[in-house]
Assembly symmetry: C2
Homo-oligomer: 363 residues x 2
Amino acid sequence: MSDTRYLQGPLWNNTYVVVMAGGIEGRFWPLGDETMPKQFLDVMGQGKTLLQMTVDRFADRLCPVENIWVVTSENFRQIVINQLPQVPDGNILAEPCRRNTSPGIAYASWVIKSKNPQANVIVTPSDHYIDPLPLFCKAVSVCIEFASETDSIVTMGIRPDYPATEYGYIEADLRYPSPTSPNIFRVDSFKEKPEMALAERYVREHNFFWNSGIFIWNINTIVNAYRVYQPHVAEAFETLMPLLGTDQEHDKVQKLYENLESISIDYAIMEKTEEIYVYPSEFEWSDLGSYSSLKKRLSNDLRGNACVGNGIRLFDTDNCIIHVSGKKQVIVQGMDGFIISEYDDKLLICRLSDEQRIDLFRE
Amino acid sequence: MSDTRYLQGPLWNNTYVVVMAGGIEGRFWPLGDETMPKQFLDVMGQGKTLLQMTVDRFADRLCPVENIWVVTSENFRQIVINQLPQVPDGNILAEPCRRNTSPGIAYASWVIKSKNPQANVIVTPSDHYIDPLPLFCKAVSVCIEFASETDSIVTMGIRPDYPATEYGYIEADLRYPSPTSPNIFRVDSFKEKPEMALAERYVREHNFFWNSGIFIWNINTIVNAYRVYQPHVAEAFETLMPLLGTDQEHDKVQKLYENLESISIDYAIMEKTEEIYVYPSEFEWSDLGSYSSLKKRLSNDLRGNACVGNGIRLFDTDNCIIHVSGKKQVIVQGMDGFIISEYDDKLLICRLSDEQRIDLFRE
């Protein structure tokens, strides 16, 4: 149990979380790879995987643990069960094939609506970094209250702390706070990952926020949005409803997914809907998309080295990230600007400035 | 069985080898350390430890395997038994404490004399590199023939291929070949590890040879030398003779060693005796005293990298030595002049030019 519940009364019982855990980001080789993507790894070296840390952010703080649902792919189902013993197995929805985020969110939405037509839902990636937790929980609880009272979609925006070219941006209209909450603003537009010059402009202009991929809505809002913008998807999941919890659910999902378009929730819904808002958050956030971005979020020593592992000793070494399994005894001398990563009989030593080439090295 | 016996008739049966395997050189951390010194490691990556390669050089080539004796310390005895199943356990002489090379050689000499008073003996370190084998066997067989016919000690000298400052040198008097063998010369003096300028002079003068630590002699020659130059040692082992092979041998050795001086065979005998010769050898030799010297003896790729391990892939990498256990999958990018060594949950990354500091890093 956590110290604090950030929501009370009916809002507590009506809050649901959909954790998206089907991605196959493989950036942290050799810690993981396509068969063990980063949500299932303890990349921060805190004894918990990113998926576990994600669930911990919500469970017993923003909702009861029984209200946490996980969307993943068939082949990761057992990993999720192992990593999340506190989440009921029935809350793990396994997609038979990869179809980007929209179909998975629809699947979870129809299932949750069948359980609780008053549900307010937070959709969250499972492989991101967020800190500090109280700031996050407070922000989410504000958004939940807002979403429960309106037919609006709320996106969690992150105030950029540098001109990132690796994130999408949300442009807010700061002249129009929402009628009920002074910290929630109407979204003007969604922006693709920008070039550096554009990213710098976004940061200068103060009304652009990183798109964290965290969305909050009332269950009826999202189901209606699917009905309007993705009618064939809505129809598909309507036909699934009578089979939920029966022996036929699995086969039906299998068949239904074959015909679903692979599309992100951003393209399918976000960019089309009118009633969409952004909450500019103050917590630190990262998608941990690379060793460099991980290094930024780990504590660095005075020479700019970040270490995960208990037995690491550095000499004449600067600006490195060293990531090794628990008790591995490591001595590093004379290095500057390198990734040193070791896991499960695999070792990577590579310049941080060349980390985009890691996948090429593996071929 | 090997293809070739380099000795025939009585010389074959009378040839004995004493392998000195009690040293605690720890230079190849993390492959080994003081508890598993380099003679017990597969530093060349050939599937055999240096001790095993040493024994293979002699067994069935220069003598029957039953004539091979190993001097080691009590705490390494089981390692030797495990690594040399072909050598009779009784041929492994365990010293109760470290006393440098002289007492161990005396111990083996008295034991061998008790088995065969006609023995000709080769004393050899267990942790050196020698190649090619036929040249080595030929050289040793010439020395054995010489030693069997004279009361001389023969040292195996190595023609230096660079001005090494890490080896001792033997100064030969090339005007005096031995009466019976044109390739064996009288020794003028033994020289300590020289400064660079002196080493360069030695190399220029053509009559200086590296002291390989390989000695060949008739058993009576060495026993008599001990009687003359180390009379208390001779006396000690005389008293051991009646107890050889009995339950009391172990206790007696224990007691006897307590009172023996720690001294090398070089100081105790070599530098004092008159009848001493050197055979200038043509084979490649190294004491493998460091990663640098190991790298010299491994095959290097076009960019000067030497790899031990089957799963190593290099990119933009030069002048490195990479030494990892068998199937470890390793990717190295952007490195120049480094040691990368991994074994048994320990990893070392260190500039080759700083390898003298490895022991300091471990403290």
